[in-house]
């Protein structure tokens, strides 16, 4: 089993371009059987236990933005300059991920309004190679920030990633300062930058743009952290505390402002945006 299929098989629900409308699926948390169409209609939140499943980029943008928003083109970046290969070539992994996903890489940007408030929303999609941050993700993040700068509006980024894309080596690591250049420009321009942390947000993504927001909103029970739990356990050789690296735990330790249910996410963002009106140029 290769890396992709391993990750895909570990996902409770595979993203499909066309959702069969007569399928039943099992909630990974409470194990109740859910009618798939109901589950999709409920934005992948279990009706029984409120478990928040992973949402694809398109559905996330639909959830947050008013109808009629526009998608930014996926930026072109250098492809596989390291000629990386493990058991498989990176270019082949990319090909497979593109075949299984509606977008060319893991970060998509929609430009429009949130309940009539102008906003640009960037979404990281875990379904594309674990949402991992490589050059395409970094470039798309920056393009979204530039769109917000051009429109003079808020930039909202929904994070989800296992971390950096190892197949891009140091070039993936360099996306951390790269994205940070743009969060700084938003700040200098007096524009709000809001982060919505979803399951999972870890590694270099957390240690850069996911933790630099003016406001941090997390989805319930989302795994959010820097180091992987197995790495931590191997280092400290103790069991981890209850709820470690979950959204509520981060809230308790002061790293996120609020934990918000998906069905209140749009209205919460709208309220926050009302208070963070773009500052008048100093």
């Amino acid at each position: 089993m290769n890396w992709i299929s391993r990750v895909r098989n570990s996902l409770p629900f595979l993203p499909k371009r066309e959702t069969p409308d007569n399928l039943w699926i099992k909630c990974p948390k409470c194990h109740e059987m859910l009618f798939q169409q109901d589950y999709e209609d409920n934005w992948r939140v279990c009706q029984h236990c409120e478990h928040h499943g992973r949402l694809g980029a398109d559905r996330r943008l639909q959830l947050l933005l008013d109808d009629g928003f526009s998608m930014l083109p996926q930026p072109e970046v250098r492809e596989d300059p390291l000629k990386f290969r493990d058991s498989k070539k990176y270019v082949d992994r990319l090909k497979a991920a593109r075949a299984a996903n509606p977008h060319r890489d893991a970060f998509s940007v929609g430009s429009g309004n949130i309940d009539n408030r102008p906003a640009v929303v960037g979404v990281q999609d875990f379904h594309f190679m674990g949402g991992s941050m490589g050059m395409a993700v970094g470039q798309a993040f920056c393009a979204g920030a530039q769109e917000a700068l051009d429109r003079g509006c808020a930039y909202i980024v929904v994070t989800a990633a296992g971390g950096a894309r190892m197949q891009e080596g140091i070039l993936s690591l360099m996306q951390m300062p790269k994205a940070t250049v743009m969060t700084r420009r938003l700040k200098s321009a007096g524009l709000p930058y809001i982060v919505v942390l979803t399951d999972p947000t870890t590694g270099g993504v957390t240690a850069s743009y996911a933790m630099l927001g003016d406001v941090h909103i997390a989805e319930p029970d989302a795994l959010i952290g820097f180091a992987g739990q197995r790495v931590i356990q191997d280092t400290i050789r103790e069991s981890l505390p209850e709820g470690f690296q979950r959204a509520e735990y981060l809230h308790k330790h002061g790293m996120v402002d609020m934990v918000v249910h998906r069905n209140r996410l749009r209205e919460t963002l709208a309220t926050v945006l009302d208070y963070l009106q773009p500052a008048k140029a100093a």
């Binding site: 493990d86 970094g138 950096a164 190892m166 080596g169 140091i170 690591l173 951390m176 300062p177 700084r184």
Partner: protein, 315 residues
């Protein structure tokens, strides 16, 4: 007594043979100076050829060599003065990341870097160079101070990575790293980052987001350790040599990829064989880099720094 690395075995055998001969020759009339000098030449050339052809995985081992010079050695041998500054004013003092005022050839700078320690006791005290949030927050404090008083910032990066622990997570390891990277980018003064040993992931970037990045000849810089990469992508840490190869972690490869700007030559056989010479070479190059940046305005420096990162990955 130097610790030999696995691939240095042939050199080790020669050097042992030389030592034996010397010992045997003591108090003996037999002239072995010819034989000795022949062996010494052979050993030196073997060392040189070995180090000229190090694989990425071998370089990783050199970069982690227990006798490799660290922050304190560089302070001692490259700077005339060091005034350590401690604490993040929020939680504590993290000795994995040291910093303070320093003087380099008459130039006053803010020096910040990882310290791994050199023996069991000091390694524990410095947490093996793995910074905690308070360490990165101290770095932020010192960078901001440097910015306000016009002191250029010099960093010495040498970490396997930021500390992975429960308390570090609770205190916001990710946030501290992100803010430290941001603090680098915000500096209104010149910043020269040097990768002196291991440049491990986010814990390195947080102190290396400079407009000029130089790297020791046998240092390594990567997004994840070769072992970590191997255990995820190859599903066994034993494939670390392959992962090191695939990730392109060496100074020579990173110079080609334009991730670093300049390579600092190490003494023959690696910095651990002559820490003083290594420190002096590093100091000389940092000095040159600082002088080259000294005429620039804050805006020019920031722009140079921003452009450097924005262009990575673009066509």
């Amino acid at each position: 007594m130097i610790a030999y690395l696995e691939f240095e075995k042939p050199v080790a055998q020669l050097e042992a043979r030389i030592a034996e001969l010397r010992l045997a020759a003591e108090g003996d009339d037999v002239d072995i100076s010819g034989e000795l000098s022949r062996l010494e030449k052979k050993s030196a050339s073997l060392l040189a050829s070995t180090y000229a052809a190090l694989t990425p995985w071998q370089k990783t081992q050199v970069a982690r060599h227990p006798s490799r010079p660290h922050f304190r050695d560089f302070v001692e041998h490259a700077f005339e003065e060091f005034v350590p500054l401690g604490g993040d004013r929020l939680y504590g003092e993290d000795e994995a990341i040291l910093g303070g005022f320093a003087s380099l050839g008459g130039r006053r700078v803010m020096l910040i870097g990882h310290e791994k320690g050199h023996d069991t006791q000091s390694r524990i005290r410095h947490n093996f160079g793995m910074g905690k949030p308070e360490g990165y927050r101290k770095a932020i404090r010192l960078m901001e101070l440097a910015g306000r008083f016009g002191l250029p910032v010099v960093t010495l990066v040498d970490t396997s990575g930021a500390f992975p622990g429960v308390e570090a997570e609770e205190r916001g390891q990710a946030e501290a790293i992100a803010r430290s990277t941001e603090a680098c980018l915000a500096l209104p003064v010149p910043m020269v980052a040097t990768i002196v040993g291991e440049g491990g992931s986010g814990g390195a970037v947080a102190l290396a987001s400079a407009e000029r990045v130089v790297m020791f000849e046998h240092a390594v810089y990567s997004v994840i350790s070769p072992e970590g990469c191997a255990s995820i992508l190859w599903r066994t840490a034993e494939k670390a040599p392959d992962a090191a190869e695939a990730m392109k972690v060496t100074a020579q490869q990173l110079l080609q990829l334009k991730i670093i700007d300049r390579i600092v030559q190490e003494p023959k056989g690696g910095a651990h064989r002559d820490p003083v010479e290594a420190a002096q070479s590093l100091g000389r190059i940092i000095g040159e880099e600082l002088d080259a940046l000294s005429g620039k305005t804050s805006a020019e420096l920031r722009q140079q720094r921003e452009e450097r990162y924005l262009q990575i990955g673009t066509l």
